[in-house]
Symmetry: C2
Subunit: 344 residues, 2 copies
């Protein structure tokens, strides 16, 4: 896989065209996904059924011609394996029910052995690799400690992260113990995915942009740094992703990931300038951009590609997950347009 | 009022200490507010009863000793006056029910005459001014066109602003007509507040940070610029506020507002650097910072004050509204600490 355009772009090597994939590319905007989703009782069941998870992982590769597959799963899978009750109610976000107030609550959480508690993920990785037969690389992933901690502490999504930040500020020893445990979990989980066959990994710190730079440095950065260091030692490219990270970008660039992913709030050229050739860049079309008329979208794609040319390496992506309301034909148009306009 | 510390800081003149106020300082974290709120049937009724709105506007001035009062009202008041049905359901955000799909839908909206449709606001301004008796300045305010448009188009709050952006991208002529009408409304509304006695105004473009810089420049900036220009001609200081604006800051600084407000995601020193002395700066403690232990909070306040000293002028504030769960004693501690640490 070392010579695949996606892996080469991660490493900042010459590529014949700009590779492209989309976050949440295996998802509800695809009718073939909806059909499989309907055959199971819940979203988590789909994640836990390797045969079906494999099929939906492959779907966007077949329909869209993206340059990488990403494991179909949920960022909260390792949190459930740690012992946090998790459910997805139809049409709502995740609900987690585990209170963390003391060190004892953190101690009661497990650092799960992926081979026993999350074997369905590893089995999906093995099956996807077999099904892809070397066509495109497979990206494994995990939620990052801050984002996972925020789901545990808030019991779901949040607008202001008050419970998370209150624990951070008032019980720093509990916060750091929780982050240690999440970090151990994430490291073990990502390494297991690589050992099962993942060709690259992405760490989703989706909500880290809710933090001030000062808080990020004190309460989060050391853990992210450790994850990158240990997982990179496996030899596969490491992508570090978050939204709303314009003011954290210099810190993120210093973590020695291969790629840093950014959202649309920052102009790609500004991100490239801050990264200073330390990492490749991934992004950054607004997912709402797929609702533009084609000519306007093409112009937008062209602008992003031009700015990406100044980067060490550029992987085209959306700035966050593709929206369920997206027309699959527009997703296909995006992939084709990136390929056509970026041909060297 | 021209010599008041708050007004002087807005204008970048020398001040004896750093002035401080808090967004949503008249609100649910104050038991005396909750008591008055209980005496009316709904939130909008409170906004529309000048006697009560006056009392809650004054409460934080009396309890906390802030350096400015801000009119108690809601950013959506002018939208309702334009003809958009609006309701606040207990414990939920606002619900708006008015579809905008064509130019006709925009044409059916009014540019309201504040003196007839929003006289309760102007009456509150007059009463507050009388009650304050020159003690501190009164800040009037309005939601900004983008933020108001997003509430109309999404029917309430939003996570991804898909409907808003879809109209922007697919029906630009409808978008621009809507923004024109909102701009006319906001200008008239703010000028009326100044004529009724407001000593400064703040434009809340709370959700503008959801836009890419390219979209901001094309779809929003011209309207913000016009509002600042016309309202500044009245002679009162103009504060331009948004959250998540780190990547829009240079554009915002170019609008010739007196003050630009930023949230905690950007280090104040970086904001000051981008503003380049063009405007004063307002901010930027994370509202969750009020849940820190006092010694940690004091250290955080000190850091912000030191960075603010490099600005043309600095008004201490939170990065967004104070949270309902806040202990009023911590709000008082914040105000006292800012005053104590910033004394020249």
């Amino acid at each position: 896989m070392g010579d695949h355009v996606f892996i080469r772009a991660c490493r900042g090597q010459e590529v014949p065209y700009t590779p492209v994939w989309m976050m949440r590319q295996a998802g509800r905007y695809l009718p073939e996904y909806v059909e499989i989703r309907r055959s199971v009782s819940g979203f988590l069941e789909l994640c836990k059924t390797p045969e079906l998870a494999t099929r939906v992982t492959i779907q966007p590769v077949e329909r869209l011609g993206v340059d990488a597959a990403i494991l179909f799963s949920d960022i909260l899978v390792p949190v459930e394996a740690m012992g946090v009750p998790l459910e997805f109610k139809e049409g709502e976000g995740p609900r987690l029910s585990y209170g963390v107030e003391s060190l004892k609550d953190v101690e009661a959480l497990k650092v799960p052995d992926p081979a026993t508690t999350m074997d369905f993920v590893l089995e999906t990785v093995r099956r996807v690799k077999e099904a892809l037969a070397g066509q495109v690389p497979l990206i494994g992933f995990s939620g990052a400690p801050f984002t996972l901690a925020s789901y545990i502490l808030e019991g779901g999504g949040s607008r202001n992260y008050l419970k998370t930040k209150t624990l951070m500020y008032r019980r720093p020893e509990v916060w750091h113990a929780l982050m240690e445990k999440l970090t151990d979990t994430v490291v073990t989980y990502l390494v297991a995915q690589v050992e099962a066959g993942a060709d690259a990994v992405q760490l989703f710190d989706s909500w880290v942009g809710a933090l001030s730079p000062v808080d990020f440095r004190e309460y989060v950065a050391p853990y992210t740094r450790r994850i990158v260091r240990v997982v990179k030692a496996t030899g596969v490219p490491f992508i570090l992703f978050g939204t709303d990270t314009a003011t954290l970008l210099d810190d993120l660039a210093s973590m020695e990931a291969d790629v840093v992913g950014v959202d649309w709030r920052i102009e790609l050229k500004d991100a490239v300038r801050v990264l200073q050739g330390r990492t490749s860049v991934q992004g950054n079309l607004d997912p709402c951009g797929l609702f533009m008329p084609k000519d306007a979208l093409e112009k937008r794609i062209k602008g992003i590609l031009e700015q990406g040319r100044q980067a060490r390496g550029h992987i085209f992506n959306l700035g966050h997950g593709i929206l369920p309301q997206t027309d699959p034909d527009m997703a296909k148009f995006l992939v084709d347009t990136v390929h056509r306009l970026s041909k060297r």
